[in-house]
């Protein structure tokens, strides 16, 4: 598989770019933030996403979706990264749709996937509990009670947690924190008794929530996949999420870089365009090279996911690790090279820095994924 977009993929990119740059430039995020919008995203735009087949991009056609792959999901994420558009696409259409599609039984798929595709259901994965992404450290308890389970514990950084219609909750049904055995995924109604959701206003002005579960009762039908055996399912779903976030970071890095290079070509100091200074030229060139390498690694990871999710772990670890270091460098250089203007809220560059920081923590930072690669290589 060539590491370039096909004609169809290029057309998908163009239509996504057209919609997103027109309806959701960075000013869209700024407006949502400043107006303290209670939803945190535009429902009207989400409706357009559904109409264009993006909401159900990964959903099989039999459930009303587009039946496309992870490369295509990455294309949408990259465009989202360019304008920082807040969208349920990541949590609902990528992560939750993958969890349901890969782990769901026939009844669960038919109940939820078509509603995701139509844009009428928002869903999200509740996984992290501590300050850092450590999926195996999950300790939210699910104990058997009658025909079902009772869930107790807390989750942090649940993307879209306060607007979701369905929570996919990682819980421990057996074993101790740190063990692969004993993890189970549950489909939980956020309105169920005992669920307490606190929307957390984050640095990047994107949606997130802390959610507490106090003896929340769920029946046996709400188990997604096998009891105690969710680790394998989670590996795949999280890798899909990581690939998608890496693509968002590539779009974000590329956009920040483009804006920065334009600034180097227009800002004058000491009677010269600052882009004439070799100190800045070489840093810009290094950043360009970093972004191109990360773009290729991310494309490789998304293709590996399309080929076989179970065999994509190393490629995904490389992509997410690279995306983290590259985006961090891109936003730091972006602010630095914009000088004082880069520090102002009025200028958009700061928004990119804030979003990059959140993306870095989402589904594991560069250190986490570098560690994963070292382990997989046996040293």
């Amino acid at each position: 598989m060539a590491l370039v977009l096909t004609e169809e993929q290029s057309m998908l990119r163009d239509s996504a770019r057209g919609l997103i740059s027109d309806k959701a430039p960075v000013s869209h995020l700024r407006h949502l933030r400043d107006s303290k919008d209670p939803t945190g995203f535009s429902k009207e735009l989400w409706h357009s996403f559904a109409e264009m087949g993006f909401a159900g991009l990964l959903v099989p056609e039999e459930f009303g979706g587009s039946g496309l792959g992870y490369v295509e999901a990455g294309i949408i994420m990259e465009e989202i990264g360019r304008t920082l558009m807040p969208s349920p696409f990541l949590a609902t259409s990528v992560v939750a749709a993958s969890a349901l599609g890969r782990g769901g039984n026939a009844a669960q798929k038919s109940e939820y996937l078509s509603r995701i595709a139509s844009g009428s259901l928002l869903a999200t994965l509740a996984i992290d509990e501590g300050a850092k992404h450590r999926p195996l450290q999950t300790s939210l308890q699910a104990v058997r009670a009658g025909n079902g389970f009772k869930l107790s514990g807390a989750k942090a950084l649940v993307v879209d947690g306060h607007v979701a219609d369905l929570l996919i909750v990682a819980a421990r049904t057996a074993g101790a924190a740190g063990e692969r055995e004993g993890l189970t995924l549950f489909l939980v109604d956020p309105k169920a008794k005992g669920v307490a959701i606190e929307r957390t206003i984050m640095v990047d002005a994107h949606n997130a929530a802390r959610i507490e579960f106090a003896n929340v009762e769920v029946d046996a039908d709400s188990v997604l996949g096998e009891v105690d055996q969710a680790a394998g399912l989670l590996d795949g779903v999280l890798d899909i999420g990581r690939g998608a976030v890496a693509a968002e970071m590539v779009g974000l890095s590329d956009e920040v870089f483009g804006r920065t290079v334009e600034y180097l070509k227009s800002r004058k100091q000491f009677g010269k365009l600052i882009g004439e200074f070799q100190a800045l030229q070489h840093r810009a060139a290094e950043l360009y090279i970093d972004i191109e390498i990360t773009r290729a690694a991310t494309m490789k990871a998304l293709q590996a996911l399309d080929a076989d999710v179970a065999k994509a772990a190393s490629a995904v670890a490389v992509a997410k690790a690279r995306a983290g270091t590259t985006a961090t460098r891109a936003v730091q250089e972006g602010v630095q090279m914009h000088g004082g203007m880069g520090m102002t809220d009025q200028f958009d560059i700061g928004f990119f820095m804030k979003r990059a920081r959140v993306c870095e923590e989402l589904f594991g930072d560069a250190n986490y994924h570098t560690e994963q690669l070292a382990r997989s290589r046996g040293y």
Binding site: T6, V261, G275, E276, Y288, T294, A296, A297, L373
Partner: protein, 404 residues
């Protein structure tokens, strides 16, 4: 974006080609040739005086040559394999799968060949390309001069017209393996009055011509892969100029792109044992099997991430070129990153080897193979254009920054 949508019959043909290639390689690549060369003496460079270091090396070379696979993507009429870009990619992947080493290493293949294919006339292609493909003539590159390094276009070696010939006088430096080469491709000044980029010609001549002499340069690695090369009234037919007289800079730049691509791929990417395991040999592991030096382990892991990412980028560069979407200066980006990464690799190897990696002359250390290789890599970011020159090219030609 134009050709990546292959039709079903094309992909079926490619699958057939893959299966046939895999079977042929299995049957024809000797087991000894399925691991990397351990020293430069173990690499086959071809040429009039070439000797095979082993029987498997000879067998492997001759079988590949007979299929045209020393230069798989060159046209068959010039001794190539006539493979499409997609087939060539399959062949490379299948060779990598079994760790097959290249049957022939050659500046003729990596640098001169592509330039001749683009700029050479019919006679030049017919004369030189088949001999490159068959490993009969070994080439060297006469580019740098004592006062023309990064600023290559200021070169002073002059070629003066004398009827149908040029008379060449001057000195080159850093001529790789000039003392073993049969022919040289050389940049000479044919118009001293023109602007510095405009008076240069690209010319070919035999190293046994009267007036050519070479002197090896001893490097910090203790080896002499480079020479000083002197020209004292060397007579060369004007017919040996590639492209137009005084337009040699175009050829030179095109060739440099290939040279940079070659150097960026020089690292031992993806072959041999992982760095982490090599380090474990000397440093050991803790109870969990982790390298017993957390900081070095982190350095190695970061290296592995960057190396895997660069490999993806190299693959993408080929795919972009095939799709007609490549930026011509992108090889400078790859050259910069590939050489800096290779230097990092060897710094890690030295650190992992500790005291053991400091031995310079002993059987145990294979005559200091590790420290000598480490020192050799320091040239990677200098030869073929320094890292700083590469960044300047990216800034100017790709980013279009002002005054660069």
């Amino acid at each position: 974006m134009t050709d990546s949508k292959t039709s079903d019959s094309e992909s079926a043909d490619l699958e057939t080609f893959r299966n046939e290639t895999r079977a042929w390689l299995e049957a024809n690549c000797p087991p000894e040739m399925r691991k990397p060369a351990t020293s430069d003496a173990d690499v086959f460079w071809g040429g009039r005086n070439a000797k095979f270091s082993s029987e498997p090396q000879r067998i492997w070379f001759e079988r590949m040559r007979d299929k045209g696979w020393t230069v798989p993507d060159w046209p068959k009429e010039y001794g190539g394999g006539g493979l499409s870009a997609a087939e060539h990619k399959v062949l490379r992947a299948e060779m990598a799968r079994i760790g097959a080493r290249p049957p022939l290493s050659s500046f003729g293949i990596w640098m001169l060949g592509p330039a001749l294919l683009k700029y050479g006339n019919d006679a030049q292609k017919k004369e030189h390309l088949p001999k490159i493909a068959a490993g009969e003539i070994r080439w060297c590159q006469g580019y740098s001069e004592p006062n023309a390094g990064s600023d290559l276009a200021s070169l002073q070696t002059r070629a003066e017209s004398d009827g149908d010939d040029f008379i060449i006088n001057g000195q080159k430096i850093w001529t790789s393996y000039a003392n073993y080469a049969d022919w040289i491709f050389c940049l000479v000044r044919t118009d001293p009055t023109a602007k510095k980029h405009d008076g240069i010609s690209f010319i070919l001549f035999d190293m046994t011509s009267k007036g050519v002499s070479t002197k090896p340069i001893l490097l910090i690695s203790g080896y002499s892969p480079f020479c000083e090369t002197f020209f004292d009234n060397v007579r060369v037919p004007k017919a040996n100029v590639v492209g137009q007289i005084n337009r040699g800079w175009d050829v030179a730049k095109y060739l440099l792109q290939h040279e940079r691509a070659m150097i960026s791929g020089m690292g031992e990417r993806g072959v041999g044992r992982p760095l982490g395991q090599i380090a474990a040999d000397t440093i050991g592991t803790d109870g969990q099997g982790k390298l017993d030096d957390a900081m070095l382990r982190g350095q190695i892991a970061r290296f592995d991430v960057d190396e895997a990412a660069l490999a993806a980028c190299a693959e993408r560069a080929v795919d972009l070129a095939k799709a007609g979407q490549a930026h011509p200066a992108f090889s400078s980006a790859m050259k910069y990153y590939g050489t800096e990464l290779n230097k990092r690799r060897h710094e890690i190897l030295m650190s992992a080897g500790g005291v053991d990696a400091l031995e310079w002359e002993s059987e145990r250390s294979r005559q200091g193979a590790r420290p000598r290789a480490w020192l050799r890599t320091k040239a990677n970011s200098i030869e073929g254009g320094t890292s700083e020159v590469m960044l300047g090219i990216v800034a100017k030609r790709i980013l279009d920054l002002p005054g660069a």
